[in-house]
């Protein structure tokens, strides 16, 4: 008994200590999520109302052209941004790992964009890409009269300019993660490969990349979160334009929540985003838990 009592007491203390965090979790996250889902089934406009309309907000949402464009944009942006950032970040890390001179300086330069907010990034790229005073004008001033680089004002190309800016922003971070991974690889592996006469590219492809699994996973998770919450870059760079060509789901939610006083539609959009994320993350978590479960058994 004497042995048990202190343990019980300490468990109680631990629970007590965790209680505020638990309360916040339940009230703020779970509570607000439930509330959001409930509001998305009402006819709420500027203020919440309890007039139940079933799934009519969702019907309106999926018939909404701007929402369709937003979802399409997020898919294009997400795939390209993640692939290019990871590829570019990995290549940068490999290049720096060749024991180049001025490594510290280069590392800082590549990581530097990440220290800026998306708002600043967006503004800088907006200016660079503006056809009347950015890169296009510079090209023409240099004598190339037919030079055209007006993607940011073209509906069909504008989403790629967002990918540019975001990759510029994030590639340095991926590089830092990959570089840490590369530095963790045992020198002996390189020596063994040299003895076997393997060319370096082959070592990277067949040995190093599989060993960097954790680094790739970390980079992917970090990048994926910035895909889902993509908002400020679109606001600062194009404000969703031209037309609705560079709108994204998070911006749809924010605009309808505040500017347009349409809580019903905004929460329906937010709920749809949540369901999409859950549909991707859920199976992955399940797979992870199965895997660790098997490892324990």
């Amino acid at each position: 008994m004497r042995a048990i009592r202190p343990r019980l007491a300490s468990r109680f203390a631990a629970l007590l200590g965790l209680a505020p965090a638990l309360a916040i979790l339940v009230v703020v996250y779970v509570g607000c999520t439930a509330w959001t889902i409930w509001i998305s089934m009402t006819s709420s406009r500027m203020l919440p109302s309890s007039n139940f309309v079933g799934l009519r907000q969702y019907e309106a949402l999926f018939a909404n052209e701007r929402w369709q464009v937003s979802v399409g944009n997020l898919a294009v942006f997400g795939v390209l941004f993640m692939l290019v950032s990871i590829a570019l970040g990995f290549l940068l890390a490999v290049a720096i790992d060749q024991r180049v001179r001025g490594e510290n300086l280069l590392r800082s330069i590549f990581l530097y964009p990440f220290s800026m907010s998306f708002i600043v990034t967006g503004l800088v790229w907006q200016w660079l890409l503006n056809p009347t005073f950015g890169i296009e004008k510079m090209g023409r001033d240099l004598g190339f009269a037919a030079f055209r680089f007006d993607w940011i004002v073209r509906q069909d190309m504008v989403i790629y300019t967002l990918v540019f800016a975001a990759v510029w922003h994030a590639a340095g971070l991926v590089m830092a993660i990959m570089l840490a991974g590369l530095r963790g690889i045992d020198e002996d592996i390189w020596k063994a490969a040299r003895i076997d006469g393997l060319p370096p590219w082959r070592v990277y492809l067949s040995v190093v990349i599989p060993m960097l699994g954790a680094s790739f996973a970390t980079a992917s998770v970090l990048l994926a979160t910035s895909v889902v919450r993509l908002y400020d870059l679109s606001v600062a760079m194009t404000n969703g334009g031209p037309g609705v060509a560079s709108e994204v789901p998070a911006k749809f939610v924010m605009d309808h929540l505040f500017e347009r006083g349409n809580l019903g539609l905004a929460t329906a959009a937010a709920t749809s985003m949540l369901i999409t994320v859950a549909a991707v993350v859920g199976p992955w978590l399940y797979w992870q838990s199965r895997r660790t479960g098997r490892a324990h058994a």
Partner: protein, 425 residues
Amino acid sequence: MTSKGARLAPHRTATNLVTLGAALAGVALWAAPAVAQANKAEVIHWWTSGGESAAVKVFAEQFAKAGGTWVDTAIAGGANARTAAINRTVGGTPPTMMQFNTGKQFDELVENDLLNDVDAIATEQKWKDKIPGPILAATTRNGKMFAVPVNIHGQNWLFYNTEVLKKVGAEEPKTWDDLIPILDKIKAAGLIPLAFSGQKTWERNLFNAVLIGQGGPELWQAVYGKKDPAAVKSAAFKNVAETYAKLRGYVDPGAPGRNWNDASALVIQGKAGFQVNGDWAKGEFIAAGQTAGKEYGCTILSKAGGGYVMGGDVFAFPKTKDPNQLKTQIMLAKLMLEPETQIAFNTKKGSIPVRTDVDVSSMDICAQKGAKMAADKAQQAPAMELLTPPSVTGAVEDVISSFWNTPAQSTDQFADKFAAALKQI
């Protein structure tokens, strides 16, 4: 305050947390009597730019003269300011007075019984005979006035650079059909015909200027007032859409994403001929040292004779049980509509007085033109946001914006989407 709070705390348990809590309690104690102070008015508004804050200062000074204390809560961005004000009102700690655009933004506050009406003072001051009909209607719910309009902004002005017009040998146009050949001449002269800011709001504003100018007040009312799908699919509406589509050819490649004041600057510098904008653009011309009627001119394009699109700002008064606050609210309402306050405020704001009985001869020539139209029943047209709630305005804006930016879209497709956007849950 922190020391005062800390002293209240028992010594033995004076951990950091307790100190913090006591300090917060100290703040509350200190803040409580301040709220009850007589004639103290907290005002939430979004007038943060140079000209705007100079304008709101007129109210603050008049209020101070009358013995009140003005607590200025300026929040940049209309949507942010309104959200803050609404959240505080719903949460039970409302400001004394809060700004909205004239229109439907405060509808739900009235429906939920969160606003005090100002009908008594309006009747006493005979405001209802002096304020133009559409503006009065926009502040009236169930027969009672629920907000005090303080200005009228004309939204469909056409500004032009007189030098540029002289250079191409053109006169001030009267209709959109007059304007198109002039735009061609300016284009031929190597200048930007129409200075444009390609953001959704301004794409909508340009469309609305064409809608009232080409379609006239009747079509305007049928589309935005009655939301009649037949009107949207009429030949007159199609003509409007075609005229609007023609304008795409007269803007420069840098237009998408540009801010409206940068577009005004193009006209000011003589790089562009025209800009369609609200009268708030005058602030830019004035700041550049230009005078209306000299370096720049202003006109309203109208084919059917009539159509001054009137919007503006109002102040609303949240429900309060504090008799002092109630008195202060009435005092503010009365003060803002005094003729001298109206002239001083609107001169700085670029708008015109909301009372048609005020002498505007001291204001610039554009304001005088505007005041004349605002007083003329045949010319009065309520702005879009006076007729449609923000959710509908936003949906229509998306449709207009995607039409402007997608030359391949036919006017019929546009009309179909337009009609669908007017109908919302």
